[in-house]
């Protein structure tokens, strides 16, 4: 299975490493042609404003939205969650795929970034969540299901074949969300 990783900016190599560990072939996606070869896609952490500009100039927005509508599974972490959201406070949404409203950097600046243990539905162990200038989900649509929460706020959500997380499982070598994603292909 070819597992794509949007490789415009951010920690895309960490996502590729998780996919490789799961036995999938990682493919770095920088062009629509790269995208056409993959069965699933991870959108990494990074700077959402930078990733948005680069995705627009690489003409990837339309093709990703189209593949998503055809059912391709997509996982977005942190910045990935922001670019997949339908509504972003203070920023034009990029892909508009997941029916949530997110607020960027809502936990504060870098000095407020933190780690905490997270319970994810269907995962038998606690996952160490690394929250770096992380987004907060302020509002969740009817078709979106929270599968993990922290202090009463959803931090991992699922909508059909789309999964978004406000932290970075890829940074701690956590494979279960990627495994769950590949199971949807």
């Amino acid at each position: 299975m070819k597992a794509g990783v949007l490789a415009l900016q951010g920690d895309f190599r960490e996502h590729a490493r998780v996919f490789a560990e799961l036995g999938a072939s990682p493919v770095e996606v920088r062009t629509p042609e790269d995208l056409s070869r993959v069965d699933a896609l991870a959108i990494p952490g990074g700077e959402s404003t930078t990733i948005s500009k680069l995705a627009r100039s690489a003409e990837l927005v339309g093709p990703i939205v189209e593949r998503a509508s055809e059912g391709m599974p997509i996982l977005g972490t942190c910045a990935g969650m922001i670019v997949m959201a339908k509504r972003v406070i203070g920023l034009e949404p990029l892909l508009g795929l997941v029916d949530v409203t997110v607020r960027r950097n809502a936990y504060g600046r870098q000095v407020d970034s933190f780690e905490a243990d997270v319970d994810i539905e269907g995962v038998d162990h606690q996952v160490r969540g690394v929250f770096i200038r992380a987004p907060v989900v302020e509002d969740v649509g009817a078709d979106v299901r929270a599968i993990a929460s922290l202090d009463g706020r959803p931090v991992v959500l699922e909508q059909g074949s789309l999964i978004v997380a406000s932290f970075h499982p890829e940074l701690v070598g956590e494979t279960r969300l990627h495994e769950y994603l590949l199971g949807k292909v």
Binding site: D11, F12, T50, N105, Q110, V111, V130, L150
Partner: protein
């Protein structure tokens, strides 16, 4: 809920998120906005860019707190700021202001000719410059969560950044060839702790993110450093000392992402106006070098 702040994973984690990106020096809120609109992953708030520090001379210090505040207000991307080498009170002030990263930088006039800042004492992460592996590992031992080549700031000349990156790569390659009983003597030679030497020898790479800095001025310079294996680039004077900063900034962002694609590099290298004039390193003499600051 037990939340842990300021862990090394949280500090180095932000650097991981900056990978593949361009960090731009800015001296005003307007420049910060131009940098953000061009796709910078972060900005470095400064009183004067290195080229002006060089030209004007005098003591170069941390930026005025009002300037740092204005720049933090202007953009949503991370804001970095420079503290003088060894000036831990400038670092305390920058942390209190809420900057997202501190660059303990040789571009400013050093405040201590023997000691760097104990970076473990801070919640905010630090990036430090290095010319070679030993220097990089000493900074990591002091708590730096990100490394950059020193290059030669304010020259618009990439040659020193290339030299430093090639040196680091060569020294990592040499460590990887060693047998475990050789690690202690290698550590002695590098002037670095043996546990970090062992880590690098086994992994074949630095334990933190490594960016290029010091003299980058064009999209081609950025792509050159990326092809030499850095994780991202800092551009200092190269953008706002050029004739037309916004298009140049955008082109460098594109070149850093598509560094392996000469067609994209050719496309973004059109019509960028005059780059910063630049300086031949030989003209500076020993005295004029910033890279020899730090120990």
């Amino acid at each position: 809920m037990d939340r842990e702040i300021g862990t090394f994973r949280v500090k180095s984690g932000l650097a991981e998120m900056l990978k593949g990106g361009v960090i731009m020096d800015v001296t005003t809120a307007e420049q910060a906005k131009i940098a953000e609109d061009a796709g910078a992953v972060a900005v470095m708030a400064l009183e004067r860019v290195p080229a002006d520090i060089r030209a004007e001379g005098g003591v170069a210090r941390m930026a005025d707190a009002t300037k740092v505040d204005e720049i933090m207000q202007a953009v949503s991307i991370p804001v970095m700021a420079k503290a003088r080498i060894g000036h831990f009170v400038e670092a305390q002030i920058l942390q209190a202001l809420g900057v997202d990263y501190i660059d303990e930088s040789e571009v400013l006039t050093p405040a201590d000719e023997e000691h760097h800042i104990d970076k473990w004492a801070f919640t905010v992460p630090f990036v430090c410059g290095a010319r070679n592996l030993g220097e990089a590992l000493r900074r990591i031992a002091e708590g730096a969560a990100m490394i950059r080549t020193k290059g030669e700031a304010g020259t618009g000349n990439v040659v020193e950044a290339v030299r430093h990156q090639r040196t680091i790569l060569r020294e990592i390659g040499a460590l990887a060839q060693l047998r475990p009983e050789q690690y202690v003597s290698a550590a002695k030679e590098l002037g670095s702790p043996v546990d970090l030497v062992r880590m690098v020898a086994e992994a074949g790479t630095l334990p933190v993110v490594n960016f290029a800095a010091g003299g980058l001025a064009t999209p081609a310079d950025a792509a050159l450093m990326m092809q030499l294996g850095v994780d991202g680039v800092f551009v200092g004077s190269g953008i706002f000392k050029s004739s037309d900063p916004a298009p140049r900034a955008r082109a460098i962002v594109e070149a850093t992402t598509h560094f392996q694609d000469p067609d994209v590099l050719a496309k973004v290298s059109h019509g960028l106006g005059e780059p910063m004039h630049g300086i031949d390193i030989a003209e500076l003499g020993e005295e004029g070098l910033l890279q020899t600051r730090g120990w």
